[in-house]
């Protein structure tokens, strides 16, 4: 099959490669670009493990073609750390609140939560639950993920989050 040149911004830097028009964005990022933090849990748009941020929206990269990202601004889990390389607020929140176990859903979850907090910096627990409903986790039962996101939200607002992981 003939190949197409695809170029977009990935975590702030230019990324490009040749791929078949049918190549899924998630495969392009993971295989062509060898950036493997974004995961695959279903390939049917249900689990959210493949969530990336595309032009300011959370998208499931198993349900987009790489060519659809042409010229876009894409952010993955690899773009979530602070500029100085320390853990970003969400990454730290997930660690502090025990928001992950096997870690397989975590990249998609954090990237999704990143957009959620941009849209709603002070969410209720219920709004968080609704906001991450497109991301499945088989390990944590979500309770500590909600707390992890609250932890990050508080930090981003410059407040302190006090509740312990439960």
């Amino acid at each position: 099959m003939s190949k197409t040149h695809v170029k977009f911004k990935l975590n702030g830097a230019a990324a490009e490669g040749m791929c078949e028009p049918r190549t899924l964005l998630v495969h392009f990022i993971r295989e062509n670009l060898s950036i493997t933090g974004t995961h695959i849990g279903c390939e049917t748009t249900h689990c959210g493990a493949c969530t990336v941020d595309l032009n300011g929206k959370s998208v499931k990269s198993c349900t987009l073609l790489a060519v659809q990202a042409q010229g876009a601004d894409v952010v993955t889990i690899e773009g979530m750390a602070n500029a100085d390389g320390t853990l970003g607020a969400l990454q730290e929140g997930f660690r502090q609140m025990h928001g992950l176990q096997c870690g397989y859903c975590t990249p998609g979850m954090i990237v999704r939560a990143h957009r959620l907090l941009k849209e709603n910096p002070k969410p209720t627990d219920e709004e968080i639950r609704f906001g991450i409903a497109g991301n499945l986790c088989r390990c944590t039962g979500y309770q500590n993920i909600v707390k992890a996101i609250q932890h990050a939200a508080a930090k981003l607002r410059g407040e302190e989050y006090l509740e312990a992981a439960e």
Binding site: M1, T23, H27, R30, E31, S34, I35, T36, G37, T38, H39, I40, G41, C42, E43, T44, H46, C47, A49, T76, I77, E78, M80, A81, L87, L90, Q91, E92, F94, R95, Q96, H98, L100, Q101, C102, G103, Y104, C105, T106, P107, I128, R129, F130, I132, A133, G134, N135, L136, C137, R138, C139, T140, G141, Y142, Q143, N144, V146, A164, A165, E166
Partner: protein
Amino acid sequence: MNDMSPNKAEREAKLEGMGCRRKRVEDVRFTQGKGNFVDDIKLPGMLFGDFVRSPYAHARIKGINIKKAMKVPGVLAVLTATELKGVNLAWMPTLAGDVQMVLADGKVLFQNQEVAFVVATDRYAAADGVEAVEVDYEALPVLVDPFKAMDKNAPVLREDLKGKTSGAHGPRKHHNHIFEWTMGDKDLTEAAFRKADVTIKELISYHRTHPSPLETCQSVASFDKIKGELTVWGTFQAPHVIRTVASLISTIPEHKIHVISPDVGGGFGNKVGAYPGYICSIVASIVTGKPVKWVEDRIENLTATSFARDYHMTAEIAATKDGKVQALRVHVLADHGAFDACADPSKWPAGFFNIVTGSYDFPVAHCAVDGVYTNKAPGGVAYRCSFRVTEAAYCIERAMDILAKKLNMDPAELRLKNFIRRDQFPYQSALGWEYDSGDYHTAMKQGMEKIGYPALREEQKRKQADFKAGKTRDIMGIGVSFFTEIVGAGPSKNCDILGIAMFDSCEIRIHPTGSAIARVGTKSTGQAHETTWAQIIATEIGIPSADIMVEEGNTDTAPYGLGTYGSRSTPVAGAAIAMAARKIKAKAQMIAAYMLEVHEGDLQFDIDGFRVKGLPEKFKSMKEIAWAAYHSVPPGMEPGLEAVSYYDPPNMTYPFGAYFCVMDIDVDTGVYKIRRFYALDDCGTRINPMVIEGQVHGGLTEAFAIAMGQEIRYDAGGNVLTGSFMDFFIPTAVETPVWETDHTVTPSPHHPIGAKGVGESPNVGGVPAFSNAVNDAFGFLGATHIQMPHDYWRNWEAAKSLGLIK
């Protein structure tokens, strides 16, 4: 420790040892997308394999034509049973003593069975190749209902077993029969039933479901022809077992096989077994001389690798009229699918189902399990439970509620009346187990108090009256569940896998500067072993957790272990870790005595070093001792500071807990709301409460899924109706209830640190709590037992069948 001077407290805190809510070391890489999962592995020249799968549940294969597929750009090879026969691998042994087709040999026995393996340069080309393989099938009659498996004219599924009147577990009664397994005293049980005031009998089905971790099963195999060495990276919960099996079924000696489980994205039992994908990636690598990756997609995962449950249990209890249980009798019809690929210890074809007497003092009991073949996927794995323990717990916990209803007794009161008392431990159960420790009454009463049990029952009475008066269409259920698990397989006297005793192991090396590496025979799939194993060592020998690296999953470096499943890691490997640490501590004590010029017996261990009794200023820290171990050991002593322990547990451990679920159901729509869920767990000594609570949350969420809707369902033609996350229920954050956790601590008397294991308790105890809540809600309207899963539709059906909806 009564002298908790600030200095002492500080030193202890610095260790981050047992009992502390230590943050996980794993999280640093996982939160940055820097985990290393199988599909992240990329080797030079790596090829990709994909399966041609059967659309039929039962059919004869009349021909396979690969010509077109071989012309697809990028396709390099297509393996079928014919090629596999050349290397004697068309069939493979299962853990349960049966054999299983790797690729369909002559016929297919379940939908989506592996028929051919296409190897190509990338996953897209492999998928194109799969499309181009032509298979000529002749459909055969399909057997889906296990209750019809042993009918006289039921279709013959396993032609390879023709004429075999006995299998790995004794006589076979029918061509679709696998085994019959019995435990207990049949005659005494019968006698007790004859004399009983009250009896109940109910068919309690635990439907087929699936563990479906978020990462599917996958492997990368790389065979080096020159060295004759095979390296396999895979999603393995038990990498050493995989290495031994790979060696036994291939001609490659075990020392030339390197099995590596990198980070694994959840297991829940799914990743214990050996699957055709693993074998085919290995064979394909040998055939092509290139590394070959196989990654299952979600549909394949749900439909072909390892279902769980599918136990149909007829339970009977005999009791006195005031509610004292006298006898338990259970018959199980177990649907094993097309091959018996259950992942149980080899001598236990029905796992530890004989824990079915639960937490109650049954004087006598008898259980029998008949396993049968059907045209469904093989498996029968322990989905977040010890072997068949969740089936057993569901059976007894439903049956106790049914008995309570018949006696018109409160289900909590009936349980309190029949619990094994604290002074009866160690307790010998009627079905052959020795329960190590427990304090059921305390746990139950604590739970009842925390949930406000009497007030809830009062409220329920009012609601029932309101419902009868037509004032509401909501009904309220209170689900009570009190489970006893049996985990930590297991003692070599009764547990082995393919002849290998189910010990586990740990090797610890202390480095000269006082930091350490510990290698363990288990494999975390999310349970935080890298964090918690270090905590055990920290407390045992006084080196901070932060200075201890834990490594698992590489069979070349880790000592032989049987892996992680059945909540065995803490009971077995946790003990091995403590024992290895104690060996190090003993040697450290000798070195410290030499350094301090006293007799060993004059020393006492004090948090992070040894102190001379009565001379508190004479102290050597573990750090100093470690340096001395490589520098100035006592004359005659070997230098170095390391130890290995292989731990063969003397007994299983028996975690327990009291769970309560409060639920409201709208009878007109079947829509339920979980109002509260309270879980009290007693897993003995608690290593890291944060991790335990996380395990409980996750297990309860899986229990919630199973009880309230998650199911692998087939139609009459053997077609899977729940083959994707569209139809297979995985709760999102929206449906998932908020969990309340609590605990009591009854240490295991035989475990070096008293820990019992916890990961699976919430699934085992959770399912009956949900199901009992639904049944309790409908109970006053005449329902005795409503089968799981209790989704909205089935609740509505139940309401309809009770005449509540016109």
